[in-house]
Every structure is written in C-alpha cells, then in structure tokens.
C-alpha cells in the first residue's frame, strides 16, 4: 500500500496535469496555426508537414488545429454534462432520501425504469427523437446518468439521516435546510466526489462515442469523436486522420481516470 504522503504528492501532480490540460483546452486556439474550419482543396489528405503539423483531412483542414479546438469542445461538453447530472442527481437524491415514503418510491421507480435500458441505446433513441446535435446529446446522457448520482446520494442520505447526531441537531433547533447543508452534505460529499472524478473519463468517451456514431457534435465543428468518424473512410490512405484524435482522447481520458483513482485513494478512510 502506498503511503498517504505519496498519494498526496501524486494527487497534486496529477491534479496539476489535469488543470493544465483544461487551461490548455481553453487557450488552445492561441496555439492553433490555422483556422480549423478553413478548407483548402489544394492540400487534401496531405501528410504531416511543417505547415500542417498533423496533416490535413479530406477537405484540406488542418488536423492539428482541429484537435486543439476540439479539446475545448470535448472538455467543455464533459464538464457541462457532469455538473448537470451531479447537481440534478444530488438534489433528487437528497429529496428522495429525506422524504422517504411515496415520494422516495416514485423517484426510485422512475430511476429504475431509466436504468433498465442500456444507456448508449437509450441515448441513441433520445437523440434519434430530438435530432442529433451537441445540446441534445448532453440532454440525452443527462436523462440517463442523473440516476447514478441520485441513487448513490439517496443511499448515503438514508444511512446518515437516522444517526444520533442528526437527532441531536434537531433538538437544538436545526431546520431541514440546515440539517442538509451542515450535517448531511458534509458527511456524504466524499464518496460523491470520488464517483464524479471516476466518471469524467467515461463521460468523455461516451460523448466521443456518440459523436463517432454521428449523433453528437456535427460537422464542421471540430470534436475528437466526430473527427474519428470522418476519418474512418481514409484509414488506409491517411491514417493520421485517426491516429491523432485517437491519441488525444487516450491521453485526456487517461489523465482524468488516474485523477479519479487518486481522489478515491486520497479520500478512502482506510488509507488514513
């Protein structure tokens, strides 16, 4: 078992890398040598060169610039999706856990119904109905994944709301809201944060996956999954169309997966 100090050091390093990658994604356009949307029919499917660092695609756009711009779209969508499902799931979970009875049963049966479908299939169905696009993809995945956080929150709340310290708090005049913010939330937040950190990589992949299927981000907006989709037909002749976005996804997802694991180790009471 790694010592706590080493986990802390490792956490700080990996967190810095993660933050750096987010900052980089935000300021990426500064580094981009070319306009990611600019087509150039003279330079179609060109090999990586000095002018086009990662080559060009089937309509002559700079792959390097598109990857840089794509980072912003990919990370932005992931964090938007995560905050949506986290906040929504947390509120629903607390309501269900605190209220109990018929409210709890109703909410949980709805969650069970949503969970009974395979998530990607369900997302494809929703996007199919609403039409493809960035907004609808986020909406579709939110509709499915709030259940994960709602269920986790509910179980954690139910484990805590009958503790003696909650009774003791009631006896000194703490209202419902104060109970939630001062007693329940601080004691359930760590497992939720761990779950959140562990989910970042998976969400990014799911979003890229839906874009790859042509349901998420639409051309010409640069997004890594979408770039893979467009490059698919040129796998033999222009492999750089697939390799670079693939490597980008691999690196970023790896960073956030390692971050998630480290957060889990850090907050795991067994390591204290």
């Amino acid at each position: 078992m790694r010592s706590r100090k080493r986990i802390k050091v490792f956490f700080i390093i990996i967190l810095s890398i993660a933050i750096l990658s987010i900052v980089f994604a935000i300021i990426a356009p500064v580094f981009a040598p070319n306009d990611p949307l600019q087509t150039d029919f003279v330079h179609i499917l060109e090999k990586p060169s000095e002018k086009y660092l990662f080559g060009t695609d089937q309509v002559g756009r700079c792959v390097y610039s598109r990857i840089l711009y794509g980072a912003k779209v990919s990370l932005g969508m992931t964090f938007l999706l995560l905050s949506l499902i986290f906040i929504f799931g947390l509120i629903i979970g607390i309501v269900a856990g605190m209220a109990g009875g018929i409210i709890d049963t109703t909410i949980m049966r709805i969650a069970d119904t949503v969970l009974s479908f395979p998530d990607i299939v369900f997302a494809i169905a929703i996007v199919g109905i609403l039409g493809p696009g960035m907004r609808n993809t986020i909406l579709a995945l939110s509709v499915i994944w709030w259940t994960k956080y709602a269920r986790l929150t509910r179980v954690l709340v139910m484990g805590i709301k009958n503790r003696e310290y909650v009774d003791a708090a009631v006896m000194v005049g703490a209202g419902k809201l104060k109970l939630i913010t001062h007693y329940i939330l601080p004691n359930i937040i760590s497992p939720l944060i761990v779950q959140l950190a562990l989910d970042i990589g998976g969400m990014m992949l799911a979003l890229a996956g839906l874009s790859f299927l042509g349901l998420g981000v639409q051309s010409p907006t640069p997004e890594w999954g979408n770039m893979l989709n467009e490059g698919r037909s040129y796998m033999q002749t222009a492999p750089w169309l697939l390799i670079y976005p693939g490597v980008a996804i691999f690196i970023v997802v790896s960073i956030f997966n390692i971050l998630g694991d480290t957060v889990r180790d850090l907050l795991d009471p067994k390591h204290v």
Partner: protein, 269 residues
C-alpha cells in the same frame, strides 16, 4: 397533580408496524410525572422501551396515543416553529458520545449550534459562550477548534453536557449517558451532572439499566418491562420496597461478589 409538576405523561402509547403489518407495542399506557428539580429514573432491560420513551419525552418520536403535558400545555400535536421552540425546554444526552457528533463539525461548531439556531446570540458571542461552557465542564478552551475524533469518550460526553446545560432547559434526558464509558469516567460524568444540577436546577429523566446508579441519584424510579411501567419506587430503598417480581429479578441479576457466592452455593447445593 402536584403544584410544581413540569411534565406529565398520561397513558402514552407507541406502536410500531413491522413489514408484515404486525403491530409491535414499544410503549404501552405509560404514565409518569416529573416535578421541577426532580430526578426520576427509568430502569429496565434492553428492548423494554426505555429509549423509545426517552425519544417520546424529547419529542423526537411521535406518540401513537396519549397526552404529554408540559407546563400545563398538551405538546403532543406541536409542529413546525412551535416544536422548534419547545426543543429549547428539553435536551437529551445520548448513549454514545461519538455518535452525537457529526464527524465533520468542530467542537466549537457543535457548541454554538443551539444559540445560533434559536437566534439567541450571534456567532461571535456564541463562540465566547462556548468557551465558557467548556470551562464549566472542566475542559480546555482550545478544544473549540478540535474535531470529535480527537477527543475521548468522556471528554465528548462533557461537551454534550456543556451544550445541554448551556441552553438552560427545564428537562434534561439522559439516555444511558454513561453506558458507553468506562467505570471511572462514569463516576466523573455523574458527579459533573449532579454538580451542575445543583447550580441550575433542571429536572432530570435518567434512563439506565444500572439499578445501583439509578438508586443513588434518583428521587423516584420507574421500572419498565416490555413497554409497561410495572412498578414505581419512591425514595432510595429499591431493595426493600421492590414488590413486582420483575424488579426482584432485575435486582438479583446485579453482579456483586455476594451474588456470585449465592450462585455458587446453589450449584453446589
């Protein structure tokens, strides 16, 4: 009804329904009275309904039937703000000191809670008062910044008592408040409670399975068995006055060297 009665329970019932729909009677037709400044004991074995009764008196559990009269008013139906205000009058000290604290709240945060929640004082003043309270129960003022896991069980129970006393309630309920502590600390806590009781004159409901303890500090003892009060003993002569067979069984199960000798003799005989 005595003139200075502060709390009266009349035919209080509490029924729980289990998953099969069967009714479990946790507390049945319990009637007790508590006068101002008095200390009553409720003794009985585990599962006899002592703690449920404590929660009923504290208004944490609603009664199924019966009336609870506090200072001449029926408080059974209290809700919302009125109930919140009522909690100022009754405080409870729980069995396990560590469970009474939220692990993520400092001792100071714990101590100021009632004064901030009941809007009795602002945060800064409450912290000053919290330090006074800590001083009163014989703890260092620096404890205000500590977390519950940094204190021992006895110290935590002192903090709990400090907060309960600080609100200046009419009634303090001690639900097995010494059972989780070792014997020497038990004595310290009881002595602290008694010393504070002389100063502030609160009424005390003392719930315990320890007959000797109940006998030594209570003015009156109610013996509870399977949800019912089977006997009430005035004064401090539980051994002589006990009539109900269950009370006698309870008394004979108290461990002492003498009892062991008896058991030994019986076996030989």
């Amino acid at each position: 009804m005595k003139q200075n009665t502060i709390l009266e329970l009349k035919d209080v019932n509490k029924h729980f329904r289990d998953n099969d729909g069967d009714i479990f009677k946790a507390v049945e037709d319990v009637s007790i009275t508590l006068a101002k400044g008095e200390c009553i004991g409720i003794v009985g074995e585990s599962g006899c309904g002592k703690s449920t009764l404590a929660r009923i008196i504290a208004h944490l559990t609603e009664v199924s039937q019966g009336r609870i009269i506090f200072k001449g008013k029926d408080i059974v139906k209290l809700q919302g703000d009125a109930l919140k205000a009522h909690y100022k009058n009754v405080q409870m000290i729980f069995q396990s000191p560590l469970d009474t604290f939220s692990p993520r709240m400092t001792i100071g945060g714990y101590l100021i809670e009632p004064f901030v929640n009941f809007k009795l004082m602002n945060k800064k003043k409450a912290y000053e008062y919290a330090q006074e309270l800590l001083d009163m129960v014989g703890l260092d003022k620096d404890y205000i910044k500590k977390y519950p896991n940094e204190l021992s069980g006895g110290q935590l129970q002192r903090v709990v008592i400090a907060r309960a006393i600080g609100i200046k309630p009419d009634i303090i309920i001690c639900d097995e408040c010494t059972s989780a502590l070792d014997v020497s600390i038990q004595k310290q806590i009881i002595n602290l409670l008694l010393a504070l009781k002389e100063k502030t004159d609160f009424s005390n409901v003392f719930i315990t399975h320890d007959l000797a303890l109940a006998e030594s500090i209570c003015d009156r003892i109610y013996v509870m068995y399977q949800g019912e009060i089977v006997e009430m003993i005035e004064g401090q002569n539980i051994v002589e006055e006990a009539k109900h067979p269950y009370t006698k069984i309870l008394l004979s199960s108290v461990f002492s060297v003498k009892n062991f000798e008896n058991i030994g003799n019986q076996r030989i005989g």
